[in-house]
C-alpha cells in the first residue's frame, strides 16, 4: 500500500492546488462564511424591541391620559396614533402600521373610581403569535404597573418566582444561534462544494480517467474531499473566533473537543455531498439538491431556531437524520454548558455512524462505473 499512499498524496496535492488556483472562489469560501456569521450574530434577534401602539380614546379623562402617558414614557413603546374611534384600526393593522392597540371605554376614570370595573380592549397583531403574545404581555405589564400604583397598599398573596435561566442567563439570542449558524456555514462548504466538484468531474468525464487509474474508489473520494475538509475546518475556526471575539459567546467547555466535533460534522457533510453528486444526473441537479436539501432542514429542523421539543413526535423522529441537529446539541453543550465528552457520547456516536453510512453509500455509488 506504500505506492498507493503516495498516489493518494499526489492526488490530494493536485486537488489542493486546483482550489488554490481559483483565487476568487477561495477568497469567497473563506471570507463569506465569516461575514455571514458576523452579520447574523448582530442582526438575528428574537427579542421584541419596539412596540408600536395605537390608542382609541373616545372620551379622554385623567385616567386614560395617565395610562397613555405611561406608554408614551416607556422606551419600548412608540405611540403611532391616537384617535377617538376604532374606525381606522383595521386598515392601520392591515398596513402593518401598528403592533398593538388599546381601546378605552368612554367612562374609564369613573369605572376606576367607584370600585366597579373599568374596561380595556387590548388588541395585538397576532399574525405572528410568538411576538404577538410577547407584545401583549409587555402591554399588560404596563397596565398592571399602573393598576398596582392605584392600588398601593392593597396587595394580596404573592408567590414570587425567582427564575434563573441556566447556561444562558440573559437568553442572549446570539448564544443560541451561533452553533446553528456554524452548522449552516459548514454545510455550505462541505456538502455543496463537494457535490459540485464531483458532479462536474462526472459531467466532464474526467472522473472516468480517475476510476481507471490505480486509485481505488475510496481513495478518489478521499482525495477529492480532503481539500474541502481543510477549507471547512478553516471556516469553522474563523467562525468560532468571530463568535468569541465579536459576540462574547461563551466557551465554557473544551475547545479541542468542539473543533473535533466540527471536523466530524464537516466530514458528514462532505460524505453527503459525495452521495448527492453520485445520485444526480447533472451538475445543476446536484447543486439544487445539495442546497435545497440541506438549507431548510438545517435552519428549521436542527433546533437552531425552533426548539426540537416543540415538534410533533413524528417530526422529532425525522430530525434524527438531520446531522446539524446533533451538532448543535454538541456545540451548545460544550459552549454554553461546559460539559465534557462524557455527556456527549451519544451525539458523537450518532454523527460518526452517519459518516460511516454515508461513506459506504458514496463508495458503492461509484463502484458500478468500473464494471
Amino acid at each position: 500500500m506504500g505506492s498507493g499512499a503516495l498516489t493518494l498524496r499526489a492526488f490530494v496535492v493536485k486537488e489542493i492546488r486546483h482550489i488554490l488556483r481559483d483565487r476568487q472562489t477561495l477568497a469567497i469560501l473563506i471570507l463569506l462564511p465569516l461575514a455571514q456569521v458576523t452579520l447574523f450574530g448582530y442582526a438575528l434577534r428574537n427579542d421584541v424591541r419596539e412596540i408600536r401602539i395605537a390608542f382609541v380614546d373616545p372620551k379622554p379623562d385623567h385616567a386614560t391620559i395617565a395610562l397613555r402617558s405611561r406608554f408614551a414614557g416607556n422606551g419600548r413603546f412608540t405611540v403611532v396614533s391616537a384617535s377617538s374611534t376604532s374606525a381606522g384600526l383595521a386598515p392601520l393593522f392591515r398596513r402593518g402600521g401598528a403592533d398593538v392597540a388599546l381601546v378605552f371605554e368612554p367612562d374609564f376614570a369613573a369605572g376606576l373610581a367607584h370600585g366597579s370595573t373599568a374596561r380595556l380592549l387590548l388588541i395585538s397583531d397576532a399574525a405572528d403569535p410568538n411576538t404577538g403574545s410577547t407584545m401583549q404581555a409587555y402591554a399588560s405589564a404596563v397596565i398592571a404597573g399602573y393598576l398596582a400604583e392605584l392600588r398601593a397598599g392593597n396587595a394580596g398573596v404573592r408567590i414570587i418566582p425567582q427564575i434563573r435561566m441556566r447556561y444562558n442567563p440573559t437568553l442572549e439570542s446570539v448564544n443560541l444561534f451561533v452553533p446553528g449558524l456554524i452548522a449552516l456555514v459548514l454545510t455550505l462548504v462541505s456538502a455543496l462544494m463537494t457535490a459540485i466538484s464531483l458532479s462536474r468531474e462526472k459531467e466532464r468525464g474526467t472522473l472516468e480517467i480517475l476510476l481507471v487509474s490505480p486509485l481505488r474508489p475510496w481513495q478518489i473520494i478521499t482525495g477529492k474531499v480532503m481539500p474541502y475538509l481543510l477549507l471547512a475546518f478553516a471556516n469553522a475556526v474563523t467562525a468560532l473566533l468571530a463568535a468569541w471575539l465579536l459576540f462574547g459567546v461563551p466557551f465554557r467547555g473544551s475547545v479541542p473537543l468542539l473543533l473535533a466535533a466540527s471536523g466530524l460534522y464537516t466530514m458528514v457533510g462532505l460524505a453527503l455531498g459525495v452521495v448527492i453528486a453520485a445520485r444526480t444526473s447533472s451538475q445543476r441537479a446536484a447543486m439544487v439538491g445539495a442546497l435545497v436539501g440541506t438549507m431548510l432542514p438545517n435552519a428549521l429542523l436542527s433546533g437552531m431556531i425552533f426548539p426540537i421539543s416543540s415538534l410533533p413526535d413524528w417530526l422529532k423522529a425525522v430530525t434524527v437524520v438531520v446531522p446539524a441537529r446533533w451538532f448543535i446539541v454538541i456545540a451548545r453543550g460544550i459552549m454554553l454548558k461546559g460539559v465534557g465528552i462524557h455527556y456527549l457520547w451519544d451525539e458523537l456516536l450518532i454523527l460518526a455512524g452517519m459518516l460511516i453510512v454515508l461513506m459506504a453509500l458514496a463508495i458503492r455509488s461509484f463502484k458500478p462505473r468500473l464494471a
Partner: protein, 392 residues
C-alpha cells in the same frame, strides 16, 4: 419575437430533459413544505420537571400540583439534592428544576409572600422563554387562588381579574379589596388560535420557491459559458433583452407553478387561510419572481463557473432569507439591519404575503412593498441585460 419563441422552446426542452432536476423543481418544495409546516412552532408541549420540595406543606404540594395540572409540566424526578438535579439537567434529562424552600407555607401565611426558585434550562432559549411564562402564569393563578382562601374577609367576591403579566414574572396584585380594578380583554387579531403555522407556511413557501428559482437562473447562463454555446449565441442576431427574456421566462413559469401548487396545498391540506385576494397574491408573486430570478440571471452573467455562480447565489440568498423576518422578527433587529431589510426583496414579499393571506390586505395596503418589488424587478432586469454578452 419569433426568435424568442425558438429560444424559449430550447430552454424548456433543456430543463424538461433533465429528469432529476425536474423532480427537484416540483417534488422538493412540496415534500419540504409538508415537513417544515409542522416544524415551525415555539409551543412547548411539556417540560420535564425536577422537584425539590424542602417544605412538604399543603401549599408546597399545591404548587407542584398546579404545575402538573396545567398539563405543561411533567414531574419527572424529585429529591432533596440540588446536585442531583443539576446533573440531570446537564444530561438533558430534565428541563427545569423547581425548588420550594423550607418555611414556604409559613411565609405565605405570615408575610403574604414567599419565593419559589425555578431554574430553567436555557440551552434552547426560545423554549425556555415560553416555559418561563407558563410558570409565572401558573404561580400567579395559584397566588390569586390562595389570596381568596387565606384572606377571605377581605375578598369582595370573584377573583381579581387583573391584567396579570407573565413578563414581569412577579408581583400580581390579586384578591380584590375596595380598590380599583381593570378588566383587560385581550384580542389577537388575524390569528385567534395563535396558530404559528399559518404565519410561517407562506414564508416557507416563498423561501423554497426563491431558492430553487434563483439558483437555477444563477447557473443557467454560466452553464452555456462553460459549454461554449454562449459565444455561439452571442454571434447571432439575438438582442440582449430577448436573450435575457428567454432565460427568464421558462424558470419563471416553473416557479409560478411551484408557488401555485404550494399555495393550493397550504390552503386545502394545511388549512392556511386565504383572506385576501388570490389575484393580488399571484400578481405580487409574478413581480417578486422577476426580482428573484433576475438576480440569479445577473449573477450568471458575471460569474465564470457554475460553482462560483452557485456559491455567490447561495451566500446572498442565505443572507436574504435569514434576515427576511421569516425566522426572527425584523423589529427585533438593530437599526442598521432594519435599514438593510428595506433592500431585501424576500422581506418585502413575505410581509406582503402575510398581509394578504392572513389579514386580508388589499392593493392599497400593500402598495409600498409591491412598489418596491416592482422597482427592484426593473433594476435587476436592467442589470442582467446590461452585463450579458460581456466580452473578456
Amino acid at each position: 419575437m419569433r426568435t424568442l419563441r425558438f429560444l424559449l422552446r430550447k430552454e424548456f426542452l433543456q430543463i424538461v430533459r433533465d429528469r432529476t432536476l425536474l423532480g427537484m423543481i416540483f417534488m422538493m418544495p412540496l415534500i419540504q413544505l409538508i415537513i417544515l409546516a409542522n416544524a415551525v412552532t415555539f409551543e412547548v408541549t411539556s417540560a420535564r420537571m425536577y422537584v425539590i420540595d424542602r417544605d412538604r406543606s399543603t401549599m408546597s404540594l399545591g404548587v407542584v400540583d398546579r404545575l402538573t395540572a396545567s398539563g405543561r409540566f411533567i414531574p419527572t424526578a424529585a429529591s432533596q439534592s440540588l446536585a442531583a438535579a443539576n446533573d440531570a439537567m446537564l444530561d438533558r434529562g430534565i428541563d427545569l428544576i423547581v425548588v420550594i424552600p423550607a418555611d414556604f407555607e409559613r411565609d405565605l401565611v405570615r408575610e403574604m409572600h414567599a419565593p419559589v426558585q425555578v431554574i430553567l434550562n436555557a440551552e434552547d432559549g426560545a423554549a425556555a422563554g415560553v416555559t418561563r411564562s407558563y410558570v409565572t402564569q401558573v404561580l400567579a393563578r395559584y397566588s390569586a387562588e390562595l389570596g381568596t382562601s387565606v384572606r377571605p374577609a377581605l375578598s369582595m367576591g370573584g377573583a381579581g381579574r387583573v391584567a396579570g403579566s407573565p413578563a414581569t414574572g412577579g408581583a400580581v396584585p390579586s384578591s380584590p379589596s375596595a380598590g380599583p380594578m381593570i378588566d383587560v380583554q385581550r384580542r389577537g387579531w388575524y390569528n385567534p388560535e395563535l396558530n404559528y403555522r399559518d404565519y410561517m407556511v407562506p414564508g416557507i413557501l416563498v423561501v423554497l420557491v426563491t431558492m430553487i428559482g434563483t439558483l437555477l437562473t444563477a447557473m443557467n447562463i454560466v452553464r452555456e459559458k462553460e459549454a461554449g454555446t454562449l459565444d455561439q449565441l452571442n454571434v447571432t442576431p439575438i438582442t440582449r433583452p430577448v436573450f435575457i427574456a428567454a432565460k427568464l421566462i421558462p424558470l419563471w413559469v416553473f416557479a409560478m407553478i411551484d408557488l401555485a401548487l404550494g399555495l393550493a396545498f397550504a390552503h386545502f391540506v394545511l388549512g392556511v387561510p386565504v383572506h385576501g385576494s388570490l389575484v393580488l397574491v399571484f400578481f405580487s408573486a409574478a413581480v417578486y419572481l422577476v426580482v428573484a430570478l433576475g438576480f440569479g440571471l445577473w449573477i450568471s452573467t458575471i460569474a465564470d463557473t457554475q460553482q462560483q455562480a452557485m456559491f455567490v447565489a447561495y451566500s446572498v440568498l442565505l443572507v436574504y432569507l435569514l434576515m427576511s423576518g421569516l425566522f426572527t422578527p425584523i423589529s427585533g433587529m438593530p437599526g442598521w439591519a432594519q435599514w438593510l431589510a428595506e433592500l431585501n426583496p424576500v422581506a418585502h414579499f413575505v410581509e406582503l404575503m402575510r398581509a394578504v393571506l392572513l389579514k386580508g390586505a388589499g392593493l392599497a395596503d400593500v402598495a409600498r412593498p409591491l412598489g418596491i418589488l416592482a422597482a427592484m424587478g426593473v433594476l435587476m432586469l436592467t442589470l442582467a441585460v446590461r452585463s450579458s454578452r460581456t466580452s473578456q
